[in-house]
Chain length 297, copies 2
Amino acid sequence: MFKGLSAFPLTPLLNDDIDEGAFIRLLQRLAAAKVNSLGVLGSTGSYAYLSREQRKRVTAIAKAHAGDIPVMTSIGAVSTAEVLRLAEDAQSAGADALLLPVMSYQPLTDDEVYSLYEDVSAHVSVPICVYDNPRCTHFSFSGSLLSRVAALPQISAIKMPGAPTDAGTIADRVRSMRTRVPERVALGVSADVFAADGLNAGCDVWFSVCGGLFPRTAMAIAEAAARHDQQQVAVLSERLTPLWALFTQHGGGIRVMAAAAALLGLVSPECLPRPLKALSRDDVARVAAVIREAGLE
Amino acid sequence: MFKGLSAFPLTPLLNDDIDEGAFIRLLQRLAAAKVNSLGVLGSTGSYAYLSREQRKRVTAIAKAHAGDIPVMTSIGAVSTAEVLRLAEDAQSAGADALLLPVMSYQPLTDDEVYSLYEDVSAHVSVPICVYDNPRCTHFSFSGSLLSRVAALPQISAIKMPGAPTDAGTIADRVRSMRTRVPERVALGVSADVFAADGLNAGCDVWFSVCGGLFPRTAMAIAEAAARHDQQQVAVLSERLTPLWALFTQHGGGIRVMAAAAALLGLVSPECLPRPLKALSRDDVARVAAVIREAGLE
């Protein structure tokens, strides 16, 4: 399942609970576009803000509306005990893969992080994707720790973070990572602004925030990458530069995607979990302009 | 309740659940030393790793064994909805005050953080202590945000973080903070290595990790501060330098206090929530030496 476009939708809320109707509208849009896989309850899917019961329900709804598209779901939590409970829940709700970030509170040692993946990989029967997201989790993997973790059973993919750097450096990093992890482990790029460079450098999959709402736009890039049409990947991504700029301006994609989904009439304007706030009216107008000008769909 | 020594005990675990017997032993030790208040479920009390049900139980146990010592309990969580549920639980379990950190996942804006405190202060009937802990929460308060938050109803204290700096700078910071917040708001120092400088600079209360296990040692410092015996505060704290060095070496106090509590026979050696690990045998031996040499009690 770790190839092409993995679309990461919002989990829209209404009065602090899941807005099921809105979530189903987002899922139907992704299913219609035939994305390669779904990543529900990613960072953009607000996993960190939802209760255990809500998270199980989100996975079940996604499975019910994904057709034959495989569904990955995040099982991140601060304590290993809770991660294991979430893994049970996710598997019983039908998740095809588990996304495991290193949520931290006390700063963690490498041995502690390794033990988390070791404990989880010993307890689950579906593939695990290692979620390396220092921006939100405040844990940074070293290359050697990623190598150790990737060698564990069930580890099938790595969701690599973006970094403000040039295409050559990204290509070097992907090449270096490829030598460090088993062949069976897929490499994925996240942080959409780096997707083009990551795909052109040989990443197997794009874990995409933009693709969670604008699947046709993102699929065009993923399909160009599958054809090894590097120039087209770059051209299509270049068109989205104003969107990436909004992501940077607003501390990541979640607030921008929430505004965009509301503009499309798919979710309520206040669909984010408190304390996250909706963008201001002026900022929403800018999002509307970018959707229009970049032809996002 | 925000004066003198506020002792922050561990919440000892056994097989991923609360070790009630061990927790009661810690509470009895603090009650016998007549600490001024208890701060259960602080960072050292592992609030971030425990379920809602476990947290309610910890507060109830603390109230049952604290005698007439007031109990503050942390209600930190990533989502405002969960914070409000935890606040209800804590109040119904008898908490005398609520400790509210800014746990973050998506990086937060100042307005989002203000709205968190605004929502909580409108819903609770007991005092709130603002917990400023960038090391674990990854949110840093600006002075102006702290001023806005401190002006809200129910805000009664600020738990200030330590910073690697000299006594003069700490004194300047306390003086500056005093001018920024209402008179009714107590200022407290945390990060034990800075306690002496903070108390000598006029902080009202010491929120103490060391005091959660070695209350007599910490009370001697707090009592010297209450007598304005600045020299004695400095001398007593200076004796604890090897303990502060262990805190720094092991990423904070929690792993060191867990080892120390096990050495005293109060808790199981594996009392921390996974993925946190117990210190190695060599490191435990060093903790034992420091307890002996510094005469911790």
